[in-house]
């Protein structure tokens, strides 16, 4: 079972756990329904993309654990404490952590609880969870990170506690910078075994080394659209939970996101809500399943 975890900036959203069902104007998580602009807000964009991918693959949809948090962290604490207690019972095979407020003990306790499970889940981190994992030195306890170039610069800087403190920030990763930064991050224990570096050219990394580069289709207008990195994370989570080989899943997720971009014909003003409905068609084009 794929478990997707994160906060959604709705103060009244209680701690909610359940199966996910995405429709373009509605996202249901357990007995809670998000509608309109909330369907694609932060963690919800990642969850929607994962659900859309599962639907296209014809496999059971993901489960999600979400809570309201607008940045003060109370929701994040509640969510991490709940998961620390329940993770063994929920018994997911893949867990993806997304928008959370970085914390110390609640985050460390949850990751340790996941590692104590009889069969440890495959752990993926993006967004706040990625920042948190690096800041508390737990990156090697994860399996996959999905950073953008700025986040990769942050992982490669051993002293930086947040991308705002990176001393040598890389905006335009290229064939030289991605291998160097990936290797540095992995060498000092700030990167997991696998990474997808999300950029105009995507790179798949294994143990600090580039194993695949995906350039096409290249859709420049995707970069300004908030959420297009979140959708790669959702898609790759679904593909890995389907049993696909991890490297193959990373390459396919990159191609699916790009193909969805091509189908959406975006401008820099396109919203992620307009982008996600193209994911199922892109999955079918790249994976070739109904």
């Amino acid at each position: 079972m794929l478990l997707l975890v994160g906060t959604i900036p709705i103060e009244t959203l209680p701690l909610t756990y359940g199966t996910v069902n995405y429709q373009p104007d509605k996202l249901t998580i357990g007995d809670y329904t998000l509608e309109g602009q909330y369907v694609t807000l932060g963690t919800a964009a990642m969850i929607s993309a994962a659900s859309a991918t599962c639907q296209a693959l014809g496999i059971p949809g993901p489960n999600a654990a979400v809570v309201g948090d607008t940045g003060m962290g109370e929701g994040t604490m509640k969510l991490l404490r709940y998961l620390t207690e329940e993770i063994a019972k929920l018994s997911p095979s893949v867990v993806t952590l997304h928008y959370i407020l970085p914390t110390r003990d609640p985050f460390i306790n949850f990751i340790n609880a996941a590692h104590k499970m009889e069969k440890r889940p495959f752990l993926i981190a993006d967004a706040g969870a990625l920042l948190n994992a690096k800041a508390v030195k737990l990156a090697p306890k994860f399996d996959l990170f999905t950073p953008d170039p700025g986040e990769l610069s942050f992982l490669a800087d051993p002293d930086a506690a947040h991308p705002a403190y990176v001393q040598h920030f890389i905006f335009d990763v290229d064939q030289t910078e991605v291998p160097r930064l990936s290797q540095e991050a992995y060498a000092h224990g700030d990167a997991p075994q696998y990474m997808i570096v999300k950029a105009p050219t995507d790179h798949v990394i294994v143990n600090g080394k580039v194993v695949a580069v995906i350039k096409e289709p290249n859709i420049p207008a995707l970069e300004p659209i908030g959420g297009t990195g979140d959708t790669i994370t959702g898609v790759v989570s679904a593909l890995i939970s389907s049993g696909m080989d991890v490297v193959e899943a990373c390459i396919a997720a990159s191609k699916i996101n790009r193909t969805a971009g091509e189908l959406a014909r975006p401008t820099p003003a396109t919203t992620i809500a307009q982008f996600i409905p193209f994911i199922p068609e892109a999955v079918k084009k790249i994976i070739g399943k109904k």
Partner: protein, 180 residues
């Protein structure tokens, strides 16, 4: 002759929401301050601390309390202690998309329409308030609507504020040229 280095104190916070407000509050009260990363043992991954001269610390603490800025702790730093400053002014890049301009600061991006200054996208970041900020800022005119610093509660929001400032400066400059 260079000014002799003064002993420094570090104000650390439970919530970035308060840390983000500390610098403008202290500067308005006449203190010399610098925003830095807190020491490792205080870090969570979304941190900001404020450095002041050790001799100012009692007065600065009083100002912060008076203005409702909640402090977690005050640390007296050994002379010469190296703290990592915020590098945000060095982390800015702009991309021209024809009808739109994207301004990137560190891990945060803001995109607006050149013709009317309307914010059309916010991207990047990982803290819970960023999607919230996106929702509040989309469709507003840059410089006229809510600002990230006013609504945000994290270092990502603080970074976005720098991108917003730069975008506003570019928009104003370009609008001024058109008006001539």
């Amino acid at each position: 002759m260079p000014e002799e280095e003064k002993d420094k104190a570090l104000v650390v916070f439970d919530y970035i929401y308060h840390a983000m407000r500390a610098k403008p509050v202290l500067e308005a009260a006449g203190f010399k301050v610098r925003e830095v990363a807190p020491p490792v043992e205080y870090r969570t991954g979304c941190d900001l601390a404020v450095e002041v001269d050790a001799t100012d610390v009692d007065a600065a603490e009083n100002v912060l309390i008076e203005k409702g800025v909640m402090i977690l702790d005050i640390l007296f730093m050994p002379k010469g202690a190296k703290l990592i400053p915020v590098y945000l002014t060095k982390l800015i890049k702009t991309v021209d998309y024809g009808e739109y301009v994207m301004v990137r600061c560190g891990n945060m991006k803001i995109t607006y329409k050149k013709s009317n200054g309307m914010i059309v996208n916010i991207s990047g970041g990982g803290c819970p308030d960023i999607p919230f900020l996106g929702m509040k800022l989309y469709g507003t005119i840059i410089g006229e609507g809510p600002r990230p610093r006013a609504l945000g509660k994290t270092v990502c929001a603080y970074t976005l504020e720098h991108a917003y400032d730069k975008a506003l400066a570019i928009y104003k400059k370009d609008s001024g040229k058109k008006g001539k």
